[in-house]
Symmetry: C2
DNA sequence: GCTGTGTAGTGTAACGTTTCACTACCGGGA
DNA sequence: TCCCGGTAGTGAAACGTTACACTACACAGC
């Protein structure tokens, strides 16, 4: 009601008790009588009391704020995650402080520094790479990783090995025997998990003709374009994520190669735009919302004293079958067993 | 170096001055000798001093944190904006606290409440609608709007009237005379600006056959589907944003209507995915990065005492011409002057 | 009657920073 | 000599909250 700020002292004065008692009530501590408790609560409501977080933070050392450090909000993978994290955190009364490193290690380091100055209670982090950001060790407080594991940290992510397996099963079922890999960055663990899940599933039936690494932002390197141009026997291009797959499809069609007519493509993530592209992309769907929510949950456990055990929480993924993988006819299947390059070259011209 | 936290007191003790002097040095205040200043700075660096933001906040009432309240991170419009805001804010030493209301007024209200508890220094806000969120008035501190104006607030946005005009010019140049409008929400000012810019540009040459309002998330209502089915003479569908346009194209092709063969479509925003869809979308590009950066800049001016003047900062936009608008032949142009419905019906079957 | 235990509540010292009011000293002008 | 103004620096009181160490009282058991 008043324009001035209401403090515990005001409540204490109005009810006629000490500030300690007010504090005890407000924090749900025992040793307060029923009626006193009710009176304090009522006074707080009537006066429009809002706890001063800064003062609380200074006294307790806890800010009730979380850091969320992401590589790139421009990749549609992350907004969905961020949305879930923010929503779940807010329901728990936690504020989310966002850092978007824009893919640079300096951005990541600066972000951490800022979060530490503000003494966030914990950090939910999707690491850029294996390099340890400056000053990170100085952060006292729980860190929970999302999507990308790192030795010694808790992580919440999709079961990428499962995703890779699903993709491999599908490839086989559609008659593909030789594939090319347009994997995500080599130094990102989750990119390796996707790849290894795929290659490990049917090591004999599925031959990897080549592998090229590109960024998760889908920008194709010259090496990638070259691989897409020659393909060396691959009838299916397995991409590290949807952005890469979409770029690959555009590159291929630009090259005059029909997708999936001449070569099939798969993605990973099932971002919103995968059924926009032509052909609609066959990919792996992962539950981004639940992953974000779970990350906050794990964080809350850690914040309330649960010991750090380096646990890994995995979510099931699912194959989303659309139009970018063609079922190979019997004679086509045979042809891929040959020496590859020469035959293929002929086929694609 | 030490595991324990370093305070101004520690610096004072080491240098042999009072904490006041240390504080004065650290805050660049006068009345400190050259050498003393240097000594304090050195000690601070050597001890690894980091100011305790909570204590500062309590004393000064300023947190050096900003709120960013957005309707929906899932709409690719916003991540780009958020990225720019966060980046610019961080360069100025400001932390960005994210609220994603997920399109609900309760979410928005809860978000504001949380930000106010944490006493952010200012709020950058893209309002959901004209309704005033609960408790908003109680927020003391600057509010800067992005993208969507509101009477009495500073706003940074694209020149949507210009965008509408550009679209109208283009429609005319391509020979379209009768259009249908799939506008954004009626209660959102920026949606109206886009529409009015279009309709006001060539009121005589361009006839609006119908207008249907849908959400910016691109989910088509039955009324919208109906309008797309019959079209009543419109040869061009002008959509409130790209998400709507993409949905419209999908709906139309699902209906067996060729785009742009039978009907043309335009979008607005030029999100990353507009040249993914078939046909590639003709749309209006707006400088999201600069808008976000400017919003932070305006906020900083306001934070450092600049008076509130309800100023509106407009950014130029540009037409991005792609494949979703067909150039009408002369006889086609004539045909749209007729009674419309009946003729059109025949054309589309 | 004494001790022990539990409940209800109080007083006050922190937390780390900024800021107000003040002192000490020096050099210059009258 | 005295006074004045400026520079360099100090001490201590806040800011709003929590938490520790207390007190006061009632009631039960022996």
């Amino acid at each position: 009601m008043a324009d001035t700020v209401v403090t515990v002292r005001d409540i204490a004065a109005r009810v006629g008790v000490s500030v300690t008692t007010v504090s005890n009530v407000l924090n749900g501590r025992p040793n307060v009588g029923r009626e006193t408790r009710a009176a304090v609560l009522r006074a707080a409501r009537e006066l429009g009391y809002r706890p001063n977080r800064a003062a609380q933070a200074m006294r307790t050392g806890r800010t009730r704020a979380l850091g969320l450090v992401l590589p790139d909000l421009t990749n549609p993978f992350f907004p969905e995650l961020a949305q879930a994290v923010e929503h779940t955190a807010r329901r728990a009364g936690l504020l989310v402080c966002l850092i978007d490193s824009q893919g640079t290690v300096e951005g990541e380091a600066d972000g951490f520094a800022l979060l530490m100055q503000h003494a966030v209670d914990g950090i939910i982090w999707c690491p850029l790479g294996p390099r340890q950001p400056r000053h990170l060790r100085e952060f006292r407080g729980p860190i929970v990783l999302v999507d990308r594991p790192r030795p010694g940290y808790d992580v919440v992510q999709s079961d990428y090995a499962m995703g890779g397996r699903l993709l491999a099963d599908h490839a086989l079922a559609m008659g593909h025997g030789v594939v090319g890999l347009l994997s995500g960055p080599e130094q990102i663990e989750s990119a390796r998990q996707r790849r290894d899940g795929f290659t490990g599933a049917h090591p004999r039936a599925l031959r990897v003709a080549w592998e090229v690494h590109v960024g998760f932002d889908g920008v194709l390197t010259p090496a990638a374009v070259d691989a897409l141009t020659h393909r060396r026997g691959a009838t299916l291009i397995v991409c590290g994520n949807d952005l890469i797959a979409i770029s690959a499809i555009r590159c291929l069609t630009g090259l005059g190669v029909a997708v999936p007519g001449e070569v099939s493509v798969t993605g990973f993530d099932n971002i919103r735009w995968t059924d926009l592209v032509t052909p609609r992309l066959t990919t792996i769907a992962q539950p981004l919302g639940p992953i974000g929510a779970k990350a906050v949950e794990v964080m809350r456990e850690r914040m309330s004293g649960a010991p750090h055990v380096g646990r890994r929480t995995l979510f099931d993924v699912a194959l989303v079958e659309r139009d970018s993988v063609r079922r190979l006819a019997r004679r086509e299947r045979r042809s891929v067993r040959g020496p590859g390059r020469a035959r293929l070259h002929r086929e694609t011209t």
